[in-house]
């Protein structure tokens, strides 16, 4: 059994490597000037490597399924890697419709970030709690992952459109917002980097803090900038927290999560600062020249098409299958649990997108912003609602 588990994780690393290589090659197709034929060939190589990576990830998925005895979609690690896979699958489908290489340059890094981000959560096989023991687990979650992958492609296309079209000549509200979007991607990378670094260093600091009339302990794996309120450091030889996390933060291990957030943002900020130093311009402005030859109308069309494909899938997986399962498991198909509410919010949002798109004034830039916001809502539901707003669905 454990052979299978290790094969499974090797395959995930393999997929990660292939996606990274494919990203680089897609990058070359974009910079490679005016040699149309060569571009076509490079594109073909890049997409083949992407597909190979997908096959590796499917092997990861299947072997982990066999090893654990249930579909690997039952915790944060497993779901986020599936979402990464969803984006790759959606990218491949859209690629074969539109043959747009630049899409790979942006879509694959998003998938990579998701998979790396996922790996920061506990990755060992875990037993299924009773409420998850149903075939609807994988029917519901795989459809959701795929639909969110497709909607992720609309985000990617929207982002490309915005980077290409936003006026970078002088500082404006628009290009500041765009920088904020790029910064938040860097903050995810920052989270991954800081977690990996202190994992390698085997950092651990334990705090004891009061909760009601009990004393609880919490283990920090990142040096504590913000410690739990009224806490005491137990571990010796490590630095104490600089300050206490605000007391109104609720939920289990809120202070630790707050600390992780500080680390992610500050590492992200350092990365962002470095990029600004290297390029001596806004990050958006630095990427913009790469997109010179891209047809903005086509990118806009992809943004819309991806929503048009993703919306019915999301309705099916995120609302209908979810409702069927909730009816079987919890006696009600809808219960206004935070996760459910945010699925509804996502659905309302994309419905609004589709309706707005009926009027011409909402094409192009506005649509692109909507696609970015839509994906932000999806990520909010995945990360914040799971980790911060607790409910029936919280995994971690």
């Amino acid at each position: 059994m454990s052979d299978l588990t290790s094969l499974s994780s090797t395959m995930l690393y393999t997929a990660f490597a292939f996606y990274s290589i494919a990203t680089v090659i897609f990058g070359i197709t974009v910079t490679d000037k005016n040699k149309q034929k060569k571009k076509g060939k490079m594109g073909a190589v890049a997409i083949s490597i992407t597909i190979t990576g997908l096959v590796a990830q499917l092997v990861y998925f299947i072997t982990r399924w066999i090893a654990g005895g249930h579909a690997p979609v039952s915790n944060m690690f497993e779901f986020m890697t599936s979402l990464g896979m969803g984006i790759v699958i959606a990218f491949i489908i859209i690629y074969f419709i539109y043959r747009l290489n630049v899409l790979g340059l942006f879509a694959l890094p998003i998938a990579l970030i998701l998979i790396a981000y996922a790996s920061m959560f506990p990755t060992e096989l875990s037993p299924l709690q009773p409420s998850l023991q149903s075939p609807w687990l994988y029917i519901h979650i795989t459809t959701v992952a795929l639909s969110q992958g497709v909607l992720g492609i609309s985000f990617v296309a929207g982002l490309i459109y915005l980077i290409k079209q936003t006026d970078q000549k002088k500082r404006s509200k628009k290009n500041m917002w765009l920088e904020l979007v790029l910064f938040s991607l860097l903050a995810c990378v920052g989270f991954i980097l800081s977690t990996v670094t202190f994992n390698v260093l085997d950092y651990s600091a334990t705090f004891e803090y009061p909760s009601g009339d009990r004393m609880l302990t919490v283990e920090y794996n990142l040096p504590a900038i913000a410690g739990p309120p009224d806490s005491e450091l137990i571990t010796e030889g490590v630095n104490d927290a600089w300050f206490e996390a605000p007391g109104w933060l609720q939920g289990s291990n809120a202070a630790k999560k707050f600390n992780t957030l500080i680390w992610s943002l500050s590492t992200g900020f350092i990365l962002y600062g470095l990029l600004r130093l290297i390029f001596r311009k806004r990050v958006g402005a630095a990427i913009q020249p790469l997109l010179k030859n891209i047809n903005a109308d086509l990118v806009d069309e992809i943004t819309y098409r991806a929503v048009a494909i993703g919306f019915p899938l999301f309705t099916l997986g995120g609302l209908i299958f979810a409702a069927i399962w909730a009816q079987i498991a919890w006696d009600r198909f809808w219960g206004w649990d935070p996760k459910e509410v945010w699925a509804l919010v996502t659905w309302f949002f994309y419905a609004a997108f589709l309706h707005l798109r009926l009027s011409r004034g909402w094409h192009g830039e506005k649509s692109s912003w909507l696609a970015v916001i839509g994906f932000a809502i999806i990520m909010f539901n995945l990360i914040v609602v799971n980790l911060v707003i607790s409910g029936l669905h919280s995994y971690a």
Partner: protein
Amino acid sequence: MLVKKIKCECGHINPEGTVLCEACGKPIEENQHIDGNDKKDLLNMRYEGSSRRSLTYNKSIIDKIWSFFSSVKVGVWLIIIALVASTLGTIFPQEIYIPADAVSRDPAIYYEDQFGIFGKIYYQLGLYDLYSSWWYMILIALIGISLVICSVDRFIPLRRALKTQKPKRHEAFLNRQRLYSESSDISNADKQQLIKRLKKLRYRVRSEDGHILAEKGRFSRWGPYVNHIGLIIILIAAIFRMSPLLYLEDYVWTREGELKVIPGTDGQYYIENKEFIIEMYDEDDERFKDAIARLGGQAEKNFQSNVVVYKNTDVTLPGAEPKLEKVKEGQIELNHPLKFDGYALYQAGYQQNEFSKMSFKLYEANDGDQQAIETFTIDLTKPETEYKFDNGFKVVMQKYYPDYYFDEDYGEPRSETNDPRNPAFIFKVYSPKNERPETNFVGIGQNIDPTSENKYKLGIIDFETHDVSGLSVRRDYTLPLFGLGALIFMIGVVQGMYWQHRRIWIHPKGHGVLMAGHTNKNWFGIKKDIEKMISGTNIKMVVDQQSENGKLKEENDE
């Protein structure tokens, strides 16, 4: 009502408010402002320039209400408001999700206690029960109304226009389409080739005097109307579900070994709980041991109640002894409810190790060996108050606290619930020698003599426990309606999103042709179709007039 008609030069009679002639597509001069065509080069094709009530009549109050609700802008605003409102309810838990171990499950106390001033505001604004508040329901109802009016306003004229359209179109219709080209000197062979290719691409080709209309996927135009019908069915189902006739929810706690009427069934059904089982994962399981260790060494695998359901065949006499007939025997687990005669029972809760029986002994307080003088057993499911013995002793249960705790505020013992989870008793012991009874307080691990002068004491010597299953009872006749609505919604969105209505017009002019194309979505797709269809002919590829003269005036169609 006298309805004004508009006659087009092609001879077709259009209803008032028509923007583009239903037959030939010629723009009708005086109505161009309706679809905003006067301000731009391309025609607004969204509703084929058909006459919509909302944009035609605006006199009476009904006209105004109709126009208001049939605006997509209003619809989108309603959706956005509902979206934002919905998020508010997730800031803090909703009332139903207040955790069982909270200070108080009373929202008036809980929110302020837990979340301070924000919690207090949250409570006062009523956000703790947002989704059943009147204003949230009104919001959803408004979306429903808007949906219906909007759809009716557009569906009927759109259908009429699409049915009436003729292959022969006015030139002004063609050259104001987004995809357009003019080619000169086109041979008949080329035209035949074109038709052949179009048919191969599965277009329906119609011609009239050499004018060609190739069309496919028209049915996808009905997608939004179909999906809106689905939504309406779901809203209607939600209204039906408010009626107890169609939707019933209840809850029953049943002890192992107990036979009990199922609430909500009017005494028709009884349930017997044979056994409640919790299974744990094996913490030594190679696969899961790391995860189980991280979760604290225990992970639940299964919650299960083995039950028998009976039907009372004689409900004529209320209060009469029920005549029970077995209906179903089975197990209820999470994800496996037990269904019978339209009802479903769900494993929803449990209570382990409640006390069912407790045995006591009576002994002399100064007897070091605590030799029993008498023993007796209390059946906690139906406790009796007096226990008399042949040797003259008598024990009277004066107070019984099934779930004992000591209330510090009041300085007296109390019972937290009515369930025997931590039973405690106040007994009076009458001995044949003493006239005055002695008071004894007995609980688990406690034996208190309030006077410190008692000659006799009581001690617990044995007990039996049972588990209790919490089962939720449901009967929901609205489920099929919800299912139907969801199915229709899915059919509608797929129909509207995965297919597109593509049309290509060919218009002979002199020796050449004018060609125009329109699709409601996926312009990339129709351009590909056109490329395929003209390859090898002399017909020029269409130009995308929207991106070509990129500076089209701001279009403000809805």
